[in-house]
Subunit: 471 residues, 2 copies
């Protein structure tokens, strides 16, 4: 770099819809990743990491009209590439490349990219994290599907976030539309109108169906009657079973059989309580073929925050087959990490630390009177001894720091190791619980005198006591 | 997605110079990250995560002729962006945005992008990881610089990789060139020629200086005489100190004073042994202003692998100032994670597990004779009990799996929990150390009978015994 050239147009910001992560935000985000990753591993998940961009041909024709939201990499010669839009398509591409993998549970936690209008307050960015868990392969019906819901339950239980898992079945939904009289070519448009029922009133949705999508009003009314039903698995199944017109439809019959199994398995895994069987749930993406679900957070008392769904997914049995000869049925789950983050951060509220607060166990301090030389090499040697023992330690980066400077720099560090010339000559240092003391206290009571060779052991004991007292 | 449309041109590969990470490779890579991250935190480092692309203006004019290797994001309207080329420039941009941060140690482990010719066998890709630790702010001379070398020492000690840290000082190098008679405008070109001395013979380098860069032969010879010296800190300092011509140069004098301090601090931190003061070390990037260093791995006996430097960095005091009014002196370090990975993977050698091997503690097995119904809900309930206790568990995803199927699926899983109808009715299950047994052994001895409510505790005890026996 030519250091004398100042780039005139360099704006000091991150690109629109992106952000830096640092400090407490980063720790909270990593905590969410940790909880999710541990849960996935507990269920036999293996991690996968794919490139941030894929060949453009791999992404094309996968996302319908959302295709326009894909970020392309500039054509600078060579292959045409685009940034990944989700983690499902890279997973399907990877699966198709490895036809020897018969059954696999994979998870991936990574950033994805969408040229969408950002809504930062609601946790919607152009660069954001997804956290996906998918089960691929041929299994007996609904067994992996129910395990996915168990995974959802475990993750949100660990995050102490109360959620409802809304479920539905693509075959039931399509069957309902057919019985209501929706023509075959209008199934997807009507499905996407119905999907808005969680946010819009029935009248609006009906208007869209009739006026925009040209559905006869009587058909729209029948659709409304069918899909506006939700309840426990047993309740909604009863709605279907008790209506012979519906059960005469092969798709509804097959879907209801799946949901019957699901109800039984959810019961066995102890997660029936969080599930609501909601016939209006439709999910946007075309590639789902069976169970679909969407997870919404229950607002706490007084919480106005609406962040949409915090996780979603479903069964997609035909996607992988698009890349090769081999169809691989899959069922998957995607967590909206940034939305979960937004809720948890809002609940944490005010107690926010500095973005650059570091976590250190021991501060190594030099003390001395007249002619004091700062004892820098000695502080370095003592810090090195602590680092060797895996203890997080710092010292003041000045040759001759004043006591006040060292004291200010050591705020929030629980233990001090204090060096003095006389003690060092006798092969000793002082260690001190530094949490409560002000500087005068340190000046008066410089802590417990220990031999240099016992220092690490004594510091560890003191850290254990401090940590106990803090919890 | 329209599932009936097959994308004709979808090639089943990742883009050139990129790869998927999964299985043992991913675990080894994450282990390297873990070791580095723990070390950075031990020294008070705070993590930073920046967007994968930056405003193009932030990256422009930072990389000299390597600018052409930057990946641009296509102009689809809105801001012009490019993928990050390294982690240093995003760090400098972030620092410049936060003028209240006076002193900070930050680390970042993330992928960077270069449109370079990939050399996969040597661990050089177009998408690759960097792992950076930088200390920013005004400190007394050489204190953070020496801590960086201590960090290098700790990371490679933990990775059990023997390394040599070659160090030099930009001021000394420039001073040597000036004393040798290199004109001011040829300093950087001659510096980049000298940088090749670790790979090329002196004759070749001299030829480049004289024929390509137009340096008089006598000047080139003097350069050669000066820079082809290396040794311990003390030895190379003595080479400088004993030559009055050199010490008369202000730059050399200032650089030597820095290196004198560094020698003293490295001694105090116990890391003198791994350092070689090499006057030919030049480092490509123009933005270094003081100490520079490059870490090379010592090949083990019989190891032919040459992967270049495994870490490198230096002091860059003017970079942050380019983005704002405030100069922030920095010294930093970048690990070549993929190169370290290549060495460690080669040393691990043959004992490679399947890419999709998962790590599970307990396999829940159903056993039964005639009229056996598979006990699926019971297996689900027992697995849920184990998951609730944080134990990694699986069961066979068939309604009525055969014993042989369950046995084959549970290979490598240390503990089995075996369910039988009679035992379940009595509120009991069997638990069994499954490492040594073949299927017949399981058929004969179905393990220890325990009460359902004691199962978790007994499984934990057995897992502890198994883990002890394995270590």
């Amino acid at each position: 770099m030519t250091v004398d050239k100042l780039p005139s147009s360099a704006q000091l910001k991150t690109p629109k819809g992106t952000r830096d992560w640092v400090g407490p935000d980063l720790h909270l985000r990593d905590y969410i990743f940790q909880v999710a990753g541990d849960t996935f591993k507990r269920h036999g998940g293996v991690p996968l990491d794919t490139p941030v961009f894929e060949l453009r041909s791999v992404l094309s024709e996968k996302y319908g009209e959302d295709q326009r939201l894909i970020y392309n990499v500039e054509d600078q010669g060579g292959e045409l590439c685009s940034l990944r839009y989700d983690l499902t398509v890279p997973f399907a591409r990877w699966l198709a490349m490895h036809s020897n993998y018969k059954q696999v549970k994979r998870y991936q936690i990574a950033k994805v990219y969408r040229r969408d209008q950002p809504a930062i307050s609601r946790g919607r960015l152009r660069e954001f994290y997804q956290c996906d868990f998918d089960i691929a392969g041929v299994y007996d019906p609904m067994i992996p599907d129910s395990e996915i819901i168990r995974v959802i339950f475990e993750v949100f239980r660990a995050l102490k976030l109360e959620v409802i898992v809304k479920v539905n079945h693509r075959k039931i939904l399509d069957g309902l539309f057919m019985v209501a009289g929706v023509p075959q070519d209008k199934l997807r448009p009507i499905s996407s109108a119905v999907d808005k029922l969680d946010k819009a009133a029935w009248d609006e949705v009906k208007q869209e169906m009739v006026e925009e999508k040209g559905l006869p009003e009587a058909v729209a009314d029948r659709v409304g009657e069918y899909v506006r039903r939700s309840g426990t698995m047993a309740q909604t199944l009863e709605v279907l079973r008790s209506n012979p017109d519906l059960m005469a439809n092969e798709d509804i019959k097959a879907g209801a059989a799946d949901m019957e199994l699901l109800a039984q398995y959810l019961q066995a895994m102890g997660v029936s309580d969080i599930v609501s069987f909601d016939l209006s749930l439709a999910r946007g993406l075309d590639y789902y073929t069976g169970l679909i679900y969407e997870v919404v957070a229950k607002p706490q008392d007084g919480e106005a925050l609406q962040v949409g769904s915090v996780a979603a997914g479903g069964r997609y049995d035909n996607l992988v087959g698009m890349y090769g000869k081999r169809p691989v049925p899959c069922v998957g789950l995607s967590f909206g990490v940034d939305r979960v983050f937004t809720i948890l951060a809002a609940r944490q509220g005010g107690k926010k630390k500095s973005d650059i607060a570091r976590e250190i166990d021991v501060y190594v301090i030099a003390a001395g009177g007249k002619g004091f030389n700062g004892l820098l090499p000695e502080r370095m040697a003592v810090a090195s001894q602590l680092w060797d023992a895996g203890i997080r330690a710092e010292f003041h980066p000045k040759v001759k720091p004043k006591m006040l400077q060292q004291f200010n720099a050591s705020v929030d560090v629980p233990v001090s190791v204090i060096l003095g010339e006389e003690e060092l000559e006798a092969g000793q240092v002082r260690i001190k619980d530094a949490r409560s003391g002000d500087m005068e206290a340190i000046e008066k009571n410089r802590g417990e005198l220990v031999k240099r060779e016992d220092m690490v052991a004594e510091v560890k004991k003191l850290l254990a006591r401090v940590s106990l007292a803090d919890n």
